[in-house]
Subunit: 467 residues, 2 copies
């Protein structure tokens, strides 16, 4: 049989076979099929095309295919059963994975690492209902090449929602949808190169991606009233702040400092980048509107659904000063919307239908209850610690006696608790401001049935470390 190949198109199933090498057609076909099974290319259970169709497609006699199938059934590579056709036998061993399996970090039973909502709380039913409405109502162009700013339907809903709930002042044309806060920072780093001022405490992950993008970060000391923005000088092209709830120490930026941040931007031509990572989750204190509302031309506002719904949706947004929109779109790549339009439309419906508000409010109640339990239990069982930063968010800071953070982390791991130390968030060059030992305790992640156990283990760990 001469070199060639064929594809069977039957029952909506394609099968690609390379028919090469010496021998009769039957022998060549048997070899090709056997090799496809042996190599794992055709997985156990895969249904093969009826031999009539494969024969027609390969241009060989039906009997040739029928013989080949029969031979391979006899050899045990295939199985044939009335009604279910010919399939790859289940007992054929799968090939060993060629790629080295990635190391799996041994998961600890209690996950108190900050920043992640409980995956089990995702509102599947409501989200699916929004998806159904959105996909049914979507215009055809929703399935064409998208606007790199994101779907207009979503940007309209975001403009209205962020105005209503966060006091953001903007128009849909100034909103750019992206895949999350990290994506937003990467894009902003491209158009605001040089040095950024960042809070003395912040996400090492963010500092790392900025360094990778060529941005040098210099710390602004953080104290009880947030970042000391009054100490900012000329030089940085931007200052990255978490005004609503300093991450991770937990206080809101003092209103005089909010004004000072905007003054700095106006005076130097720099920009304030407002990471509103958990602005919707505030509890007993009065809410703090977005800093962006003070000056939409000097403050870029960054948010996402990662804390409110799920980090898995990969939908975030930037509310931009007019002068930054074109630069961000160019950095994003003209043809790269990144976020799926179907999911953007689903989120637009979820916002418009009130599903998002309902979910946020449900989670807010739940987070508040968890925070209260954390504060109560620690107060009773580990009175040496002080819990701070609790007015908002998905985490609290457990302040520890000086010099005990490392021992507390070791004890936590021994007690099955995954949790992070405060010092890991400190900028390597930070001097001044807060410098405390502590744990950053995320209370949102564990499923309901494990939260009590997680608190218990945390108390036991702290008790043993501090005794």
């Amino acid at each position: 049989m001469s070199q060639g190949s064929g594809v069977a198109e039957v029952l909506g199933v394609d099968l690609h076979l390379e028919l090469t090498g010496a021998g009769s057609r039957r022998a060549v076909l048997i070899r090709a099929l056997r090799e496809a099974v042996r190599s794992g290319r055709l997985a156990a259970g895969t249904r093969l095309p009826p031999y009539r169709s494969l024969a027609a497609d390969l241009g060989v006699a039906r009997n040739t295919v029928a013989d080949a199938y029969a031979e391979l059934v006899a050899e045990g590579w295939l199985t044939s059963r009335q009604g279910s056709g010919t399939r790859v036998a289940e007992r054929v061993a799968a090939p060993a994975a060629e790629g080295a399996p990635r190391d799996t970090v041994r998961a600890l039973p209690y996950d108190l690492v900050q920043g992640k909502p409980d995956p089990a709380a995702f509102p599947r039913t409501a989200w699916l209902a929004s998806a159904r409405r959105a996909l049914t109502a979507a215009p055809h162009d929703a399935f064409g090449i998208g606007d790199p700013r994101g779907r207009l339907e979503l940007r309209r809903e975001l403009a209205a929602y962020l105005a209503r709930v966060r006091g953001v002042r903007t128009v849909p044309d100034r909103i750019v949808v992206c895949s999350g806060a990290a994506h937003a920072l990467r894009l902003l780093a491209r158009i605001l190169p040089g040095t950024w001022a960042v809070e003395g405490y912040g996400l090492p992950f963010h500092r790392g991606l900025l360094a990778e993008a060529g941005v040098r970060t210099v710390p602004v000391a953080v104290d009880e009233e947030g970042a000391r923005v009054g100490e900012l000088r000329h030089g940085p092209s931007a200052v990255l702040l978490t005004p609503a709830h300093q991450f991770p120490t937990g206080g809101p930026l003092h209103h005089e400092r909010r004004a000072a941040a905007v003054d700095w931007a106006r005076a130097t031509g720099g920009f304030v980048l407002e990471d509103d990572y958990d602005g919707e989750f505030r509890y007993d204190r009065r809410p703090v509107g977005a800093l962006q509302g003070l000056d939409p031309d000097r403050v870029a506002f960054v948010g996402s659904v990662s804390k409110s719904l799920s980090p898995t949706l990969r939908i975030g947004w930037m509310v931009l000063p007019g002068g930054l929109v074109d630069g961000v779109l160019a950095a994003k790549g003209e043809r790269e919307p990144y976020s799926s339009a179907t999911e953007q439309l689903t989120l637009a419906d979820f916002l418009a239908s009130g599903g998002y508000d309902r979910h946020v409010r449900r989670m807010r109640r739940r987070h508040r209850e968890r925070r209260d339990r954390l504060v109560t239990v620690l107060g009773e069982r580990v009175p040496q610690v002080r819990v701070t930063g609790i007015a908002a968010g998905l985490h609290a800071v457990v302040e520890l006696p000086a010099g005990t953070e490392r021992a507390a982390l070791t004890a936590a791991e021994r007690h099955g608790v995954a949790v992070e130390g405060l010092s890991g968030y400190r900028h390597p060059e930070d001097v001044g401001g807060t410098e405390k030992d502590g744990l950053v305790v995320g209370y949102a992640t564990p499923p309901e049935r494990l939260y009590g156990g997680a608190l218990d283990a945390l108390c036991n760990a702290l008790g043993s470390a501090l005794s």
Copy 2:
């Protein structure tokens, strides 16, 4: 009233108001509400909280809120109707968009620009059914922080599908999900810096993003048998090829050149990057399996659903040599899966349930019919041209008499046809190989009812340009 703010939480709706400035509580509240409406922060039609709830939340008397609402209704900012509560009046003018509206390219009635499936052909119902099954069956961890390689469920289905249909040899651990081919090239550019050989004809968009990523591209001449890979020398870290269907000239890479590409990679330590952009859409010729199958350790295979389903889903994949997996993941960013996990799971179900095969086959029949019409109509009405590259894909090349491409493009625009010239795809440094005048005609995009008109307009345009 002292500085402060409040949020009403009623009916699952939040409203953020900043209550600042001099005057009575009533005056301050009226000013805050009026400003929120005037600035467009509260959009026309937005429902306000019942005054009882707003009062409770702001800590003011009910009458104060009731008075403020009444005043604003009297001024025309709000409307109040029994049963539908108090809403922002529809007649309040929206603020002028602050961001400059982006230039809208005047759309031509007939879109024959290559590379896009007809958005109206998206299989909404089947996709939604997969979404419902996938979201219902998903484990909770699907809504947590994802594996940057992508969901295992999807990588398993892709490994099986690509093996069956494209002859790809791999395991799920070597597949990395990304947002599309452009994202894949950006990531590969990060870990394979320096110079890449690219086909003398190819997407300017790809060359541009590689240049932006710091990769210098050098052309390999293309002729009737594809890229002349035998001319490759030491130097490039990679060669980017479209072996199944050279883009855009349309021929498959000759089998001796396929072998030569792999030989080059083995001899130089370079990598072949196989852009399988439309490998599923082949018609009357025998299919060409993936080059990747020749050497999974030297060929990285890139594909996506952008041509087969929709560019809007932003799901693509890389099938990588084992040695490139960790580098690509590091370039991607440890915590950045980019593609939504819910959509990944939906695609996994769509593949497993046979929905993807059915859709591809339906589109293949449709594309083939359109291609046949194109060839027939041009043959009858514009016999001076030759249609090539038609064995596969979503586009054909209409070869024109030398020196007529510019006139043909001008005539096409005049006749309402958006289409691209072949010379725009030529690498600026390309010498040798194909150098023809031509049009790259994408026949997949127009909706069914417009396709006849599009062909008619194209023939009229070519007739007038070549007469």
